[in-house]
Symmetry: C2
Subunit: 110 residues, 2 copies
């Protein structure tokens, strides 16, 4: 096999898993952190910041974009990538929720 059985899970579960999966690589975490660090988001220099070849970085950017974690706009002959807040807000909400529920359960648990 090897193909994930997405159809057996809820839309929400798949949505969170997709976001998490896209962030499941240190290079992509590094890209997100870099996009937050720099002042502007004209980001032709992401490649220089990472220890990876240009095609590899381009591929990681594509995955982040597909997952909805970043947006990309053409800006002359370079491209302006930036964080898509909404996706991270979703993650924040989700994990806040989980943490809260986990705390409330603590008493009757190991």
């Amino acid at each position: 096999m090897g193909a994930t059985k997405t159809d057996h899970f809820t839309g929400k579960q798949n949505a969170i898993a997709t976001l998490a999966k896209a962030l499941g690589h240190p290079a992509r975490i590094a890209i997100i952190e870099y996009l937050l660090k720099v002042d502007t988001c004209i980001c032709g220099d992401i490649v220089n910041e990472l220890p990876l070849a240009q095609p590899t970085v381009s591929q990681h950017l594509k995955e982040l974009k597909n997952a909805g974690l970043i947006k990309g706009e053409i800006e002359g002959n370079s491209i302006c990538y930036c964080i898509d807040e909404k996706a991270f807000q979703k993650l924040q909400t989700y994990f806040t929720n989980i943490s809260t529920k986990a705390e409330n359960k603590r008493s009757n648990c190991c």
Copy 2:
């Protein structure tokens, strides 16, 4: 290649990526949500809750445990799995941080 170049990234980046990767599968999201839903955490019935065979579920549980997202204690001849709060608190903090930073940046961005 195919092997992730973890050594080129910071410990924190790798740590978050590891947690995110472990949650990057709907079955593992479903497991976490189930562990939160049930009252106790004696969890021999996770297999019945998921549309996957027992060895597959066992493997997903192992990955969640390796990532530090759940804990497992032997309880007689079954095993008590439960959420490891600390990992989810880390994720909550991380994404809250990202969201806040992203909001502050919004003005001078696309």
